[in-house]
């Protein structure tokens, strides 16, 4: 009896201490144009915050911006209300964050996908080209026609970063491989147009491609659907999309935005907050290729060994994956 009481007391104390900690932070998340349900980048951030909430019971507030002027406004609104830490999602928020973070030097901020060099900002950037390199290798190994393809959302630097790594990886396996590349559009709608994504993929299949990688947000749903319909292989992006069409998605280039958001919130809550730049590459498990039950049959041992070896080489620096952002060119 005494023992039970003791256990109960310990449990209670434990609960109370979490409750006490739980009151210490009031996090907020600001999404960019895509919004929290974009099935891609912003949604990954939402999932990370959601995971943190479920684990700790700490609620957070969020906001989806609608026009460029709201970026600063939303950050300031949250900061004024004492929200802390405030996480901004997307490179487009950098200019707004730089301004607002200076106005609120005691508030902790974080930004995903860009670098803001201020003492109260944590910047999280991903090495998308490294993960894309690995899925490019897999695509080249899986292709029987020696032709693979890429569907991007909009022709912006971030998407070139994906495509350049993909090309380099594919060419590392097969220097003569043909790579077809298409962008969906030039307006914000390019990220939310699955019909057009499907059309682009089908036209690429008509030109002999049999593996297609998308970096196009919700547009990619159409790309993956078209690949599944035509018996070709798709490659998912940002989150693990293998389950969408089991057996017909070769792999996914996972960009762990959810993990990064969750970790940032956890660090703030547990007092491990740090600022500066966090680079999330293969070495940090920030990007990776997805292998699970859904695609196990598509990846043979030889492919797996080759990719894992390449991963080691990239981590050790033996293989240098070209970053489009360094010189704005892609030599592949």
């Amino acid at each position: 009896m005494k023992k039970t009481t003791a256990i109960c007391a310990t449990l209670l104390a434990g609960l109370m201490s979490t409750a006490a900690l739980a009151e210490t932070i009031k996090p907020a998340v600001v999404y960019d144009f895509g919004g929290r349900n974009d099935r891609s980048f912003n949604e990954a951030a939402f999932n990370g915050a959601q995971e943190f909430k479920e684990r700790t019971g700490i609620n957070y507030r969020d906001f989806e911006i609608q026009n460029p002027s709201q970026r600063e406004q939303a950050l300031r609104n949250f900061a004024r209300r004492g929200m802390d830490p405030i996480i901004t999602i997307g490179f487009a928020q950098a200019a707004a964050l730089e301004k607002v973070a200076k106005e609120f030097p005691d508030t902790r901020f974080a930004i995903v996908d860009s670098v803001v060099d201020l003492p109260n900002v944590r910047s999280i950037v991903f090495r998308e080209e490294q993960g894309s390199y690995l899925v490019g290798m897999l695509a080249a190994m899986a292709s029987e026609t020696d032709t693979i393809s890429f569907v991007g959302g909009m022709d912006i630097p971030l998407i070139r970063k994906f495509s350049c790594g993909y090309k380099q990886g594919a060419k590392a396996v097969n220097p003569d491989i043909e790579i077809i590349e298409n962008m969906t559009g030039t307006t914000g709608a390019a990220w939310t147009d699955p019909v057009k994504g499907g059309e682009l993929a089908r036209s690429q299949f008509a030109r002999d491609s049999d593996v297609v990688f998308h970096a196009a947000g919700a547009t990619g749903m159409g790309v993956l659907q078209a690949a599944a319909d035509e018996g070709k292989l798709g490659i998912g992006v940002d989150s693990n999309q293998n389950h969408l069409h089991p057996g017909q998605i070769l792999t996914s280039m996972v960009k762990a935005v959810d993990v990064a958001v969750d970790a940032t919130l956890t660090d703030a809550q547990e007092g491990n907050w740090s600022t500066g730049v966090q680079v999330m590459g293969l070495a940090e498990n920030g990007v990776s290729w997805a292998l699970d039950d859904n695609n196990a049959d598509l990846i043979n041992d030889e492919m797996k060994a080759a990719v894992e070896a390449a991963k080691q080489d990239i981590v050790s620096g033996k293989v240098e994956v070209h970053d489009f952002m360094v010189d704005n060119t892609c030599p592949f």
Binding site: F33, F63, E64, S69, Q70, N77, M154, T186, M325, V326
Partner: protein
């Protein structure tokens, strides 16, 4: 006042008010449907737009955009031309503004840059409207179709320029570099510290917009060209018999319309962002159509409609901020309902109101 006509105050005041109330009632139903209190929603919307200095500032800032695009649509409308291309013209106009700022900001103060930026924005916006205008005037290609298509060409052009040409190396953001002091319009909160405008981006472009309103009024109702524009809009055949060249009127009107849309860049690019951003137009060009319809093509009406839409934008953001279940998509629904009732269903209540006033007038005549 003849039968079937309405007094001006009814046409310009009462009818829009009835439309607006209907829109808000339906919006209220939608809010109830998602399980929120509509009165609470209205409270946040109005408070967010007008309740505090920063909110007022943001409302006026958005209104400035809408005045420019609303005037652009209205001018074309007076000539019977439906310019749907305000979005693209504003986008390319922003490029003109940005180029002027990029070229001059390091060397001269803002008041030297401003005239050049105005010329740049107007010229680029007008230039973007010229080809659809020419095709309409000379080839009969319908201006609705061509201006819509030019919106897409504009965004393609801008993505290309921002991602490849104007972007500083190493920056992920498809935008130009930020302008120095000489390329930034002073914010009203710095010019008039007595008014509490918070951190809002409302800037000197508001006055540029108001001047544009006066000039448009003078143009349409006090000049020969304006008379020709209105004649051509009322009856193109009669205008031709009166010796008005349809080609000239179409092209000139569209150039003026495009120039006005292009000036929106003064507010957004030179005023608020101090850089040229991807998608900075954010749909303001399309809202301009609703603003022009609601404002009955008259500058005063456009100013009022712009303030209303400014309130919807700013109050809507505040509403989405305060009540998380009302997402920004809900705000778009509410805005769409206002546009639907004020623009598309403009004639829904009119017959009833006309009948009411006819009876009223009839009774007075008998008495």
């Amino acid at each position: 006042m003849s039968k079937g006509q309405l007094p001006r105050w009814v046409d310009f005041g009462l009818l829009p008010a009835i439309n607006l109330i209907a829109a808000f009632l339906v919006s209220g139903l939608v809010v109830i449907l998602i399980g929120e209190n509509p009165l609470e929603a209205v409270k946040w919307l109005v408070w967010g737009a007008l309740g505090y200095g920063e909110g007022v500032g943001f409302t006026l800032f958005y209104a400035t955009n809408f005045i420019f695009t609303g005037l652009a649509v209205a001018v074309a409308f007076h000539a019977g031309l439906f310019n749907i291309g305000g979005e693209g013209q504003a986008y390319v106009g922003g490029l003109g503004v940005a180029l002027a700022c990029l070229a001059m900001d390091q060397f001269v103060p803002w008041y030297v840059t401003l005239p050049m930026a105005i010329i740049g924005g107007a010229a680029f916006g007008a230039g973007w409207a010229f080809i659809p205008a020419y095709l309409q005037a000379k080839r009969g290609s319908h201006i609705v179709i061509t201006t819509i298509m030019f919106n897409f060409i504009a965004s393609s052009l801008m993505v290309y320029l921002l991602a490849n040409v104007l972007r500083p190396t190493g920056s992920m953001q498809p935008s130009t570099r930020g302008f120095e002091e000489g390329g930034q319009l002073p914010l009203l909160r710095h010019l008039f510290p007595a008014f509490d405008l918070g951190q809002s981006p409302v800037n000197l472009a508001l006055f540029v917009a108001l001047i544009a309103c006066v000039l448009v009024w003078v143009l349409i109702w006090r000049t020969k060209l304006g008379y020709e524009i209105r004649t051509f809009g009322a009856n193109p055949n009669a205008a031709v018999y009166a010796g008005i060249s349809p080609v000239r009127i179409t092209v000139v009107t569209m150039l003026i319309s495009g120039a006005l849309a292009g000036l929106m860049g003064i507010n957004e690019v030179m005023g608020a962002q101090a850089r040229l951003l991807l998608d900075f137009t954010a749909g303001y060009g399309f809202v301009g159509i609703a603003v022009a319809l609601m404002g009955r093509g008259h500058p005063i009406g456009i100013i009022l409609a712009s303030i209303l839409f400014g309130m919807l934008y700013q109050g809507g953001a505040e509403l989405a901020f305060e009540i998380p279940t009302i997402t920004r998509d809900m705000i778009v629904v509410i805005q769409a309902l206002v546009i639907l009732f004020a623009g598309a269903l403009e004639h829904m209540f009119r017959p009833a109101v006309v009948a009411f006033f006819d009876r009223f007038a009839g009774a007075k005549a008998v008495a």
